[in-house]
């Protein structure tokens, strides 16, 4: 079949020429792209691709044009000798371009990774620049925040009413807050410098072992009850909580303790238990007294009737006198019990407490042997008048002074002190002696009815019970503080009603 050769020649020649032109134009564009960012691996890749395409276009197009020219000029032999080289180079160029193209995906992945790394580096760089520019300000800010934080926690440490103690694992105290110094009766910070150890202030060695064991096994200890002994040797009940602070590379492990003084709470609990006990005994006593009082009245009445009847023999008369005497004793005891049980309302009047005390002291000096005992009074002139049952209050002071007199030896001293706290409206009267003191085991029982340390027959054991009942009946309280060998102090606290008792 015959075809026109012109389209083939034209397309071949013009196409070959255009291939060369556009391949170099592509090369020029990519060179421009690369010149914008010489480190861009994609532009470098495209540059190599375009180099390959340019070589391919040149090899192919030159071959085609040469073929046309040689064939047209009738030099077929020359073309046959060139043709293998042209074809081979052309083939090599295919392979070159195809090979470069196949690397596109890998190059793209590398490029993306470079971009990510570049962004990360830029971000890090920006941060560094920011830090560099603002470092001083940031350090100032951080220092200020740290100072505030330090101040805040230092304040907590300083003003805490509970002991805060930091010590090493061996018990050596590293830091102690003022409340801790106060609780342990220490002064200033010399104690820490002198190798102060926590276990030295625990009354029981086993407590320290238990604390350390708990810290080692659990890392903390919570509300563990211990007896602390302070510098004066006084024991204080306390609750210990603590946790281990693991030291960093340069610091040692420390234990942070919070020690809460529960001594006052324990005292109050004991006082409340004592008050409840006495109230129960009071109820019982009142019941018994009521039941016995009436039969005693009848016995006494009939005894007195028999004593008044004529014709009684002397012997029977004496017997009746004995019955009367003992019945009266019984009635006195019953009345005391009723006083203790606060069964009778006080008959109050406005009185001066200092006058009452003076009256009692005068009475005692006339009727009791207070010759070898020094009696001192120290009255607060601010004490106002009070609404009291004078007779019963006198009985209280008689009981207390009699007890004090029995406690002190000759040459001893009884001191009565009054003080008024206008803020609380409470009047305190302290009756202190320098006697032998009360044993600790008896302190909780001294207000119990019929409890006495005196030999049988010398006391009924109702004096302090009655005093307790009277004071409680006046809305007050009575407490004792005693130390063996040094003496006892009874403190009566009475409320003062301002509108009634102002001087």
């Amino acid at each position: 079949m015959i075809f026109s050769a012109i389209p083939i020649w034209v397309v071949d020649s013009v196409g070959s020429f255009l291939m060369i032109i556009f391949s170099f134009l592509c090369l020029r564009l990519v060179t421009k792209l690369r010149s914008q960012d010489r480190n861009n691996v994609i532009w470098t890749y495209l540059l190599w691709l375009c180099y390959g395409l340019a070589l391919f276009a040149v090899s192919r197009s030159v071959g085609h044009i040469l073929k046309r020219v040689l064939l047209f000029s009738g030099q077929q032999t020359a073309w046959r000798s060139i043709q293998p080289y042209s074809g081979a180079v052309n083939t090599l160029m295919f392979v070159l371009v195809a090979s470069i193209t196949l690397f596109f995906e890998r190059i793209w992945i590398v490029y993306q990774q470079i971009l990510k790394d570049k962004q990360a580096l830029q971000s890090a760089h920006q941060k560094l620049v920011y830090l560099n520019q603002n470092l001083e300000y940031m350090v100032d800010e951080r220092t200020r925040a740290l100072t505030q934080s330090e101040h805040k926690y230092r304040r907590i440490f300083e003003v805490s009413k509970d002991m805060i103690l930091v010590c090493r694992k061996d018990g050596q105290v590293v830091d102690l807050n003022p409340a801790g110094y106060k609780m342990l009766g220490l002064h200033a910070q010399r104690a820490i410098g002198n190798g102060m150890r926590l276990q030295d202030y625990l009354a029981n060695d086993e407590h320290w072992n238990a604390i350390i064991e708990a810290i080692k096994t659990q890392g903390f200890i919570s509300s563990f009850e211990v007896d602390l002994k302070n510098k004066e040797g006084r024991q204080i009940k306390a609750l210990v909580s603590g946790s281990l602070d693991k030291g960093t590379g340069t610091t040692v492990d420390t234990i942070h303790f919070l020690v809460k003084d529960i001594e006052q709470r324990r005292v109050m609990e004991r006082q409340m238990a004592q008050a409840e006990k006495l109230a129960s005994i009071g109820q019982l006593s009142a019941g018994v007294a009521h039941e016995i009082n009436n039969p005693l009245g009848i016995i006494l009445g009939y005894t007195q009737l028999l004593l008044k009847s004529k014709g009684s023999k002397q012997e029977r008369h004496d017997d009746l006198k004995t019955i009367e005497k003992h019945t009266r004793n019984c009635k006195t005891i019953v009345e005391d019990l009723l006083n203790f049980a606060r069964e009778s309302e006080p008959e109050t009047d406005v009185v001066q407490i200092h006058d009452i005390i003076d009256d009692v002291l005068n009475f005692m000096q006339h009727h009791s042997n207070l010759v070898d005992i020094r009696v001192e009074t120290e009255y607060d002139p601010q004490v106002p008048s009070l609404q009291l049952d004078e007779k019963k209050i006198k009985q209280v002071f008689i009981n207390l002074i009699m007890n004090a007199k029995h406690a002190v030896d000759s040459g001893g001293m009884i001191k009565i002190t009054t003080s008024f706290d206008s803020r609380t409206g409470l009047l305190s009267i302290m009756v202190a002696d320098t006697g032998h003191g009360i044993e600790k085991k008896n302190l909780s029982r001294i207000f119990d009815p019929f409890f006495t340390t005196k030999p049988t027959g010398e006391g009924t054991g109702l004096g302090l019970s009655v005093s307790y009942g009277i004071i409680r009946n006046h809305g007050g309280d009575i407490a004792v503080d005693s130390e063996i060998g040094k003496g006892s102090t009874f403190t009566i606290t009475l409320p003062v009603e301002k509108n009634k008792g102002d001087r």
């Binding site: 079949m1 291939m19 592509c26 083939t91």
Partner: protein, 159 residues
């Protein structure tokens, strides 16, 4: 290990008992050149197909510059198919013969005198109608990339 040992022993046995002349250097007097050229075209086709696929898979075709480059690769792929077809007909299998018929005409004859094949061959000979658009699309794509990227660098993919 065992299979290798058996294979080695069998091969050794064959060499010993079935000897053949040894032709140390193989000759290339045939049409290896045509086959090499054809394989180069196939390799080109594969690489262009790969490029088209990766440009799409990486989402680069969302940018018009890369889309034009993908189009360029497609035309290069078509040009290679065309070239493979032409070389297969004339050089490889000698199905078509092209002779000059005067100064401005050519005679195309096929083995079985297939006119349609001869016409198709004539059209396929105009292969620059495929490769020239391919390189023009490449040029346009690069031009767009230069316009788009200037002065920015290629974007990071959002995959």
């Amino acid at each position: 290990m065992k299979i290798k040992t058996i294979f080695f022993m069998a091969a050794s046995t064959c060499l010993v008992f079935i000897p053949n002349p040894v032709l140390a250097t193989q000759g290339h007097g045939g049409i290896e050149g045509v086959y090499a050229h054809q394989l180069a075209h196939v390799f080109f086709i594969i690489s262009m197909g790969g490029l088209i696929y990766w440009l799409k898979q990486r989402g680069l075709v969302r940018e018009s510059g890369w889309r034009l480059i993908q189009l360029s690769a497609f035309f290069f792929l078509l040009w290679n198919l065309d070239a493979v077809f032409v070389h297969a007909l004339d050089d490889q299998f000698k199905i078509i013969q092209l002779q000059h018929a005067g100064s401005w005409a050519v005679r195309i004859t096929s083995v079985q005198n297939n006119k349609m094949l001869e016409g198709l061959y004539y059209l396929a000979k105009l292969d620059h109608l495929l490769c020239v658009p391919a390189i023009i699309f490449l040029y346009l794509g690069l031009k767009r990339l230069l316009a788009d990227q200037s002065p920015r660098a290629p974007k990071q993919e959002h995959s």
